[in-house]
Structure formats: C-alpha cells, structure tokens
Amino acid sequence: MRDVIVIGAGGGGPVVAKELAQRGLSVLLLEAGPRHANPRAEWTHFENDANNPLTGFLRFGPADRGKPAWFRELPQNSFLFQVSGVGGTTQHYFANCPRAYPGAFAGYDKPDRNAYDTAHLFPFRYEELVPYFEWVEATLPVQTAAMGKKERTFFDGCETLGIPVQTTKTTLSDSFRPQENAILQPGGAAGRTRDLTQLRFPLATGCTFCGYCLQGCMEPIQAPRNLVAKRSTDNSYIPMALTADAWSPSGTSITLIADAFATQLLTETRNGELVATGVTWRIGATGERHTETAQVIVLAAGTTETPRLWLNSGLPNPNDWVGRGYTDHFFDFVVGLFDKDTDSSKGPASAARCDFPGRGGLENIGLGPALQAFTMQLTSSGSRGFYTNGRGMTGPWDGPAGRPIGPELKDALMNGVNRLLNILVITDDDVEAQNRVLLSALPGDEHGPVPKVIFRAGNRTARTQANREFLVRKATALLRGAGARKVFRLDWAPLILHVQSTMRMGLAPEDSVLDADAEARWVKRLFIADNSALANALGGPNPTLTTQALATRTAEKIFQRYFGGDPWVGRESPVVSTDNAVTQAVIARGL
C-alpha cells in the first residue's frame, strides 16, 4: 500500500507529489500519456509534428503516435485543447503566472466586490492563499519577463490606454505589465544570438527566445532537465519529485508510471462513510490492468478527465454538480496587421499582459504560420463578408467579426507572420451549470465511456458576455494605439484551453463537489488537485499558478489530516527547482 496515489502528471498532480515526497511519504504518480524523457530525440520545433491535434507529439492521445487520438464528444463548434504526457498542458503552456484576482475569493470587501462571480467565490480569503502563491513562485521560480519586439509593440499600445503599469504580484486595479512567468530569464548568449554554437548550456542559460513555447521547451541545448527555460512541470516539479531523497533531508523519491490511464477509483465504506482506497489503471502498450491501494488518493487528471473518472467509477453525485460549472475564460482573439516588424513568432510566446479586475485580461500571443492560420479560422461568426451565423458583431475592429476566408485570409497571412500582433481576450466568465462534462452516449473506448463537453457559447450570462465585449474593445484600442493598420476580430468558437471548476470547491454544499480543503464532500481520503478544483474562473487570470498554489495547500491539508504532520508553508523556506542538489541528482540519474 502506498501512502498516496496521484492520478495525472499535469499542472497540479506533480505539485502534490513533490510536496508530499519532500515530507517522506511514499507517492505513486500515474500519467495516462507518454513521458518525454529525451525531448531532443523525440521532439522537433515543427508545428504539425508538435501540435497537430490528432497526430502531434503534444496531442491528447496514447503514447504510440500510430494510434488515433482519444475521442471526446464535442456537440458544438469548439476545440478542446488537451495534452497528454508528463507535464500535461504545461508542456505547451506559455508559463504565465498571474495570481488570481482577490475579488474571486470570500471576504473580499473592496468597492468593486460586486464585479465578480459572487455566487461562486472561493471558500476562503485571498490572503490565505498568498503564502502558497509565494511558495510556488519561489519553487518554479516565477520571474518578471524580458521584452522582445512583440512585447515592445504591445506596450506601445498599452501606453495609449490610460492605465498604469502594475508593479506588484497581486493585481489591484486596471493595469498593464510584463508577465510574471515561470521561465528562467535569458542569461549569457540567450536572447542575443541565433548561433547554435552559442546557444548551448552553460554558454546560454534560460530562455533563448526561440519562439517555440507551444511546441514544448527544450532550451538551451544540453541544459539539465531542471534547468530548461520553461518551468512546465516536466522541467520543474517532476525532476524534484523524482529526486526528493537527494535534496530533502526527509525526502523519498516518487514512483512515476507513464502510459498508465486510470480507469477506476476504488472505494469502501468505513464507519458509515465512503472512503477512497485505491486505483485501477491500464497500461497503453500492453493493455494490462493494475490495481494499487493507498491511504489517500489525489485526482488530478484534468478538468475534463477528472469528472469522467469520477462518473465512470460510479462515485456519488447527489447534487448533480460533478462535471458542471465548466469555465473556459470565453476566449476571443483579435489580430492586428502592421506595416512594421513585430517579430510575433519569436521569443517567449506571451510575455506581456493587461489586467482589468472584474472583467478579465489581455495578453499577447506569438505563433508560427500554421497555428496562426488555425486561430484565424476558429469562429462562431462564420466567414466574414458571406455569413455570420447570427453573430458577426461590428465595432471598432475592421468589418464584422468572423474568419477571413480565401483571398482575405491569404492576404492577411502574406502580410507576414512577423508583422502582426495577436491578442488573446481572457474573459472572467461565470460558473454556469449548463457548461459541463458528462458521459457520452457514444460507445466508450478502452478506458470506459468517454466525456462529452458541452458549452453554450451563445447563451453565456449577461456579465460574461459584457466582460468579453469590454475586453475586445480594449484589445482593439491597444492594437490601434500600437499602430495596427487593420484589426480582425475572430469571435472565437469555444477554445477550451483555460479550463476550470468542473469539480469546484465552494462555500455551498448545494453547488460544489469539494470542501474548502479540496477533499471530496462525499468520498473521504479523496482530494482533487487540478484546475477542476478551482471555485471559479479566478476573475480571468491564467489558472496554472493558482492551481499549483492550491495544490500545495491541499498537500499540506492531506499531510495534516491523514498523516499527523505539521504545515510547512510560512514556516520553512522553499527549495527552488533549479537548486544545485536537484541538478546534480538529475544528471547523476540520467533524468
């Protein structure tokens, strides 16, 4: 029997695994997808090879790329951007680490307190989470992002908006700033050359400005895994968890099993309470099934997969909120064409942002040509100039919202992938019961019934829609201020990428699945530590940092409640994931 089994090695699971391994617990970490142990041998910087949603090495599918991706039912025009493998979606994330807005938490009493999703607040105060933010920010570490030409262009636009520069970790008001991101900042030759002989560790350290965040980070060349620039969990928490005995006096290294898809949570009744006792998983390569037991189970399979596994395991759902309340930041995308270079495809993919507490935020996005074209076709508004699907909103952007098609698309792309600026509109969207994960009626796969993800894009709350319209106008003004000649508004169809709150913790038992400590209300010794545990959409900030802070807090709760331990955050100093003891162990063990 293990002390703890963690299901899912994405953004949240490895945090719990590392924290508890540091305390000396015996931890098994299961990951459904592959472990890319040698990215230089397995990955490329090519968009189709990496990001093709059906065949790419960063798709959501089995380790064997010769097999089809895993099916999930999407009964609407939408795109569910999942990634399997150790690191989960942090493998392709942009590593942006803004903290959640304080207004998304209970007890917030500032004048703008009614601007948030007040019906679905976090069940504790923002101030309670701050020490955990700080712990994660020190561990990853999170730093202030450097600036390339696209960020300079973005800031040129920000400076015309009449809002100040934010110089604090906590967002206090409408403002703009460089991202606080989990990317080691450039050192040595990094960011200063294209010469491959100079871009090798340790001549170059940190971010080399290669422009391939979305294809998975393996820079600089020959860097030890824990010193790779982007702090996806496969480069930060996982190396720490696998070497915990080397850098923590009481640490025990975890066991990591990849290609292991959890198919069943096991429970039993003890003293009248339902208690989690173990996990069954299936090995993709062989089809073998294994079962292990543990004192505590941590579910971190992702915002779509976690409710699926819950439902497939037949666990209770007395208030029918398992899988409900899915928030996705109701993204939109605004593209500005310029008559000058922006170098949009170079550097960290997104290193600048604006925040509008109570509304959401904006950030720049750099892409290569294939993904640029993809993002300019995703829309709920049809093809510009031909049909609108009943939408096709007009405003300060040029022409109706919608996809440019044919000659217009081609002309826009031929303006140059490095002479445009993309802005992602990140809406503070309300928790709504109608947006949800349930089990599909279609035939299941080898892991059981598949998830069906429903989003009603045209039927979001008035606040959600108003927030999005507000932000799109700010994005357009920003692009105009930066000198854009033409501005497209795409009116994206749901791009389900920032995913939150399908197993939400909450104040009220009537509309939440988890209690304030992230333990399941109806199954003891079962905790949830991925984005699904978040109470709401955070006010709009990117969710990974908050999930990791919450997962750290959850690890402490587990250690205190079931292992008789003491809390450590605020009492000890965190070990940074780039610590030399970690590095030496990573090198010695060939990790």
Partner: protein, 302 residues
C-alpha cells in the same frame, strides 16, 4: 420515370457519385465499358466504385482547400480567385486534411457508420427534385444500375474496416453544393462542390456550419437513440473543424517533413507565404531580447 427512381437518381447525382462513375458504369453512353448490367454484381460494383469514390473525395477536398487558401491551381481559378503564388493545394493541405479525417479524427465507427448510412437514406428522401435536364446523361442509366450503385455506396460507407470520414463528408459537401447551385451537377472536375464559385462555396459552408435544419432533422430521424443528438453535434463540430484543419494543414510543414530524419525536404509553402524563418531553419534561439520594461526585473507585494 417513377418518383422513387428519380429520387435515387437525383440523390446519387447530387452527392457526385453518378457523375464521377459515369465512365465505369454500363449503359450510360460513352465510353463503352464492355460491362452490362446483367454482369454487375454488388461486389464487382463495389470494386469498381471504390477508386471512383476516392477520386471524388479528393476532388471535393481540393475544392475545399482552394476555398480556404487559394493558389495558382485550377480549383482556385475555377472558383474565380486565381493567385500568382502557391496555395493550400500545393502546400499539401488536401493530403493533410484527408489523412486527419480518415486516419486520426477519432470519431468512433459506431457513430460514423450510422451517420453515413443515414446520410444515404435521408438525403435521398429530401424533397429537393432537380430539373430533368440537369441530369443529362445520368438519365440514361438503368434503374437496376442506379439501385446497385446506391447499394454499393452504402456498402462502402458501412463496411470498410476503417471508416473513411472524408468520403461521407465530401458527399455531404457535394449534396449541399447542388442545393446551392443545381448547375454544379455538370462541368469541369468530378465534384459538384469543386465546381462552385467562391461565393457559392461560402453559401454551401454556411449550410453545413449552421446545420441546415432541414438536413439535420432528416438525418437525426434515421439515427437510433442514444446517438440521435450526436449527429447534429458532429455536423456543427465539423463545420468549424474543416476550416481549421484545412488552414493548419495548408500553412504547416507536413508535406516537406521527413519523419525519418525529423527534418525538412524543402521550404514549406506556408513559410514562404508568411515570411517565416527566411533561413528555413527552426533554430534554437533569436537575437530578439530588447531588455526589461522600465528596467524592472522583479516585483513584490512587500
């Protein structure tokens, strides 16, 4: 001609199958294939039709990729948007789209097969008659042949080991094309969709994307529970995904990518069009670092 016979004939013409197969079917004018209706078995016809349908499918997707990213190809010229530079077809967008639809888009066969079968049944029954003149030579086919062709199409859609999603969706595009423009039954290319003008292709895609209520209602009626609502959802998903996958494939590197060397065999069209990586090397870094905004390198709440 009996109403049912005309309906079958019209349907097969609309999805492009009759036009595409005219040269391999007996008694349809020229050229003489040397085969008579009496000699046709279902199995033989299936063998005859399989490559015809593959060609029809490719022709349809060429027409779609040219709609998405036009180039200097014949499909772009035919739709009225000729270009001097290469487009999606020359970039390999058609191959990428078909491969994704057929081999990897992980719709379960249990959905695709009944949906494809429903397509055959439901579209045939849609009350959208064609003027007899538009059928042209297709009227010369015997009803025995027509029924066999329909059976063969159904057989291929329902029984192939790997469900070729690109084919039923191409047939749907062709059907909708003939609704938008009945004249697309005849002309250059094999596919009615490929014969449409650019504006008419947009109208056809609008019908797909908005799930033409008439179409969805009839198709859904053929699907048993609990899959019923899934087919209309599938159509809505495809309406968007076709555009996204075609653009991604047309601007990506798939045609030039060699999986053995994990390198390129040439400069991808999309890179050329967008000015991406002029040296054709993905590299490992850029000299794009300017510095730190306002020279601030850290922030805190303290």
């Amino acid at each position: 001609m009996a109403t049912d016979d005309l309906s079958r004939r019209t349907f097969l013409a609309r999805i492009g199958v009759l036009g595409a197969s005219i040269t391999v079917l007996p008694h349809c004018g020229e050229p003489d294939t040397g085969i008579t209706t009496a000699q046709l078995s279902l199995g033989a016809l299936v063998d005859l039709l399989r490559p015809v349908l593959a060609e029809l499918s490719r022709d349809t997707w060429n027409g779609f990729v040219a709609f998405n990213v036009p180039g200097r190809d014949a499909y772009s010229r035919a739709q009225g948007t000729p270009r001097h530079e290469r487009g999606g077809i020359e970039a390999g967008g058609t191959d990428a789209l078909i491969a994704n639809l057929d081999r990897f888009l992980p719709f379960p066969d249990e959905l695709v097969r009944p949906a494809a079968a429903a397509l055959v049944t439901a579209l045939r029954d849609l009350p959208l008659p064609l003027a007899g003149g538009l059928l042209g030579d297709l009227l010369g086919l015997s009803i025995v042949t027509i029924r066999l062709v329909e059976d063969a199409v159904r057989f291929i859609l329902e029984n192939d080991n790997t469900t070729p999603l690109s084919l039923p969706v191409a047939l749907l595009l062709n059907y909708v094309a003939t609704v938008v423009s009945p004249a697309s039954l005849n002309g250059a290319f094999v596919s009615p969709f490929a014969r449409l003008s650019f504006a008419d292709k947009a109208r056809a895609m609008e019908m797909i994307e908005t799930s033409l209520p008439q179409l969805v209602a009839v198709v859904d009626a053929q699907i048993p529970q609990p899959l019923k609502a899934s087919v209309s959802g599938l159509l809505q998903l495809l309406g968007g995904a076709l555009h996204e996958l075609a653009a991604f494939g047309s601007l990506g590197e798939s045609r030039q990518f060699d999986p053995r060397t994990r390198g390129l065999t040439g400069r991808p069209v999309g890179w050329q069009l967008t000015g991406y990586l002029p040296d054709n090397q993905t590299g490992d870094g850029w000299d794009d670092l300017i510095g730190y905004y306002q020279d601030r390198r850290e922030v805190s709440d303290a």
